[in-house]
């Protein structure tokens, strides 16, 4: 009996000291998620400035509403204002931790609500360098993780972790994430395509604290290294806990967006 107890204790001790890189990576991801939960709901404006390799620009303007859902992914409604031919087009997403997201697209010209295949997640969002999956709610369960190293990013102490998308429909083999050690927020993400070549780099700039707890970046800059194209995503007018409810995120609510 005593031997068994000793054995158990020693096993426990080994486990505590020798946390694997996978466990440490997951623990960091969990902490990021944990610190960013409880915000309830938010509304914001989103501008996307698309720039091709010749420096030609085009602009997208959107409004976003999001509702935190307990024990599941968030509900999100995105309404387009620019370009003007897609004004009033709206995208409703019920994201899920493990199974595929549910997605409906509202086409105002026909007043038609269309359920769409959310597995098109690797596709570009509105012709930008952001894929749907880059903008989707970042649930812990959507990746597996590995801690790589501690490092400094522009003088800020960071954890560098690697994550691997669980979904076989993802456009990526892996992503490398630089996580601020103190605030547990991403500062930079490198995306590697299915062939494991560096595809894009996302940098977060102008983090601000809301509700005294939640960090949100004002700007997210995505550079595509393979095409030379880039997209600057600018967030404006963040408002938290605005009283949004489930009834603001229904197929019917899509039809009345303005």
């Amino acid at each position: 009996m005593r031997i068994l107890l000793l054995l158990l204790l020693s096993l426990f001790a080994v486990g505590a000291t020798a946390e694997t890189a996978e466990e440490k990576g997951l623990a960091i991801a969990r902490e990021v998620d944990q610190r960013d939960s409880g915000w309830g709901d938010f509304q914001a404006h989103m501008d996307m400035l698309l720039r091709n390799r010749h420096g030609e620009e085009s602009l997208r303007k959107m409004r976003i509403k999001s509702l935190e859902v307990k024990d599941d992914g968030d509900k999100t409604l995105i309404v387009f204002d620019e370009p003007r031919d897609v004004k009033g087009t709206a995208l409703l997403t019920f994201s899920h931790k493990v199974k595929d997201d549910d997605q409906w697209l509202y086409l105002p010209a026909l007043k038609r609500v269309k359920r769409i295949a959310s597995r098109n997640k690797s596709g570009p969002f509105m012709g930008s360098e952001f894929a749907y999956e880059d903008l989707a709610s970042q649930e812990v369960e959507k990746y597996t993780y590995k801690y790589l190293r501690d490092d400094l990013l522009d003088g800020t102490p960071v954890f560098v972790i690697e994550r691997y998308p669980v979904s076989r429909y993802s456009g990526y083999k892996r992503q490398v994430v630089w996580v601020d050690k103190q605030r547990y927020i991403p500062l930079k993400i490198e995306y590697y395509d299915r062939k494991n070549s560096l595809l894009k780099t996302l940098t977060f700039e102008g983090y601000r604290k809301y509700l005294d707890q939640y960090w949100r970046a004002d700007r997210m800059f995505m550079q595509n290294h393979q095409t030379g194209k880039s997209t600057l995503l600018t967030w404006k007018d963040y408002r938290f806990r605005t009283g949004l409810k489930d009834s603001d995120f229904t197929r019917n609510s899509l039809k009345r967006v303005r």
């Binding site: 085009s58 370009p83 031919d85 359920r115 597995r119 570009p124 009834s247 019917n252 303005r258």
Partner: protein, 398 residues
């Protein structure tokens, strides 16, 4: 708008003082369109080339934090050649009020039901604005009072539809029309109240996991007219639209399974003249990032069946639809849909190509190419056999 236009304008101006002074939200588009036909028309009165301009502004306003919404969306087209195609309509003029788990809409609006791509079988609330596009996707505004209940068991929409709208048909000079032409001055109804009859409709819809389901009922004057041979006041042989009273029950269903969308629409319709069922269904399979690009390629296949067979009031009674949808996912949102609908009994085929691309922030160019091939005289597409055409449109959005 042929009917009740002035009344709705009065209603609009009556609503103005009732609204708090918030900023109006302006949107909409204006467009120039050109059409060219490749063959000589069957009727010498018909044109070969056509040009037209259209305007569709939208004025909207929200108040009470989006709990009240007002929308006004008129539409007008000036056509150089076809006086029936020069027309205007109120697509939307309504006030929506949103409660907790319920919603009301009063005014003129458009409602879309259904899931399929080639033919919208169960979509019966609005009349087709056929002069706009022979694909029947453009709809006239329908006066309505709508109550929606949104609960755990799904969404229930109840409709009171006062004021019937007649389908628009190309005039004597117009292309893509029947021979003889339809004369809307000779319209008649089964209902003694004619266009003043109040029709009723109800729809329950919800989603369960991957399934989106809708069950609908309609009772009133059917939107599809029977076209009866007649002679008008000028002694001209024409077709006269006759609108029957119908009862219709329908289902629409979509399963969204990964890259597959499975779709079905089916209806049973009863009238004094006829009772029948019809269905259309199939799939859309999307290949994401085709050939290592950002583009998606969709493969679409649908079957269109109508129990009335050769006596159908629709051209698609024993037909199959096959198409490819290419979506570039580029900055210009370039898209191309290419396909055909073929009658498996007689071989009549409608070829259809639709493309569009944005230019800059505010312009959009669209192209439509349609051809009717191998048309059989027993089919309803036979009158269009010389109407193959190319249409280009340039629209400015504001």
């Amino acid at each position: 708008m042929r009917m009740g236009g002035k009344g709705w304008l009065l209603l609009l101006f009556g609503l103005f003082p009732a609204m708090p002074s918030l900023a109006w939200d302006w949107a909409g588009n204006m467009a120039v369109e050109g059409r060219t036909f490749f063959q000589s028309p069957l009727d010498p009165r018909q044109y070969d080339n056509d040009a037209s301009i259209s305007l569709e502004p939208e004025l909207a306003r929200e108040w009470h934090d989006g709990r009240d919404i007002f929308v006004f969306r008129p539409f007008g087209r000036l056509d150089a050649r076809d006086e029936e195609r020069s027309h205007w309509d109120i697509r939307e003029l309504h006030w929506t009020h949103v409660g907790d788990g319920w919603e009301t809409l009063v005014g003129v609006s458009r409602v879309f039901w259904g899931v399929t791509e080639a033919w919208h079988l169960v979509d019966v609330i609005n009349q087709t604005d056929l002069v706009e596009d022979p694909d029947a996707e453009d709809k006239l505004g329908q006066p309505m009072v709508k109550l929606s209940l949104e609960q755990d068991w799904g969404t229930l929409d109840l409709f009171l539809l006062p004021g019937f709208r007649e389908r628009t048909f190309p005039g004597a000079d117009g292309r893509i029309r029947t021979h003889p032409r339809v004369d809307t001055d000779l319209t008649s109804y089964q209902s003694g109240r004619e266009w003043k009859r109040v029709d009723l409709a109800a729809r329950w819809s919800r989603y369960i996991g991957e399934w989106d389901i809708g069950l609908s009922l309609f009772h009133g004057t059917g939107r599809d007219p029977l076209l009866l041979p007649a002679v008008n006041g000028k002694g001209e042989q024409v077709l006269a639209p006759y609108y029957e009273l119908i009862d219709q029950a329908s289902i629409d269903l979509q399963a969204t399974l990964g890259q597959w969308l499975w779709k079905l629409e089916a209806l049973y319709r009863h009238s004094d003249n006829d009772s029948f069922y019809a269905w259309t269904g199939g799939f859309e399979y999307t290949i994401v990032g085709v050939a290592d690009s950002a583009a998606d390629l969709g493969l679409l296949a649908e079957v269109l069946y109508d129990q009335r067979g050769d006596q159908s009031a629709t051209p698609f009674n024993h037909d199959a639809f096959l198409a490819l949808r290419w979506t570039a996912n580029d900055e210009q949102s370039s898209e191309l849909l290419a396909g055909f609908i073929v009658d498996w009994k007689y071989g009549s085929t409608l070829l259809n190509l639709e493309g569009s691309r944005r230019c800059g922030q505010r312009w959009k160019a669209s192209l439509i190419l349609r051809a009717w091939l191998n048309t059989d005289e027993r089919g309803l597409l036979y009158p269009f056999r010389n109407d193959d055409y190319l249409q280009l449109e340039l629209a400015r959005y504001f």
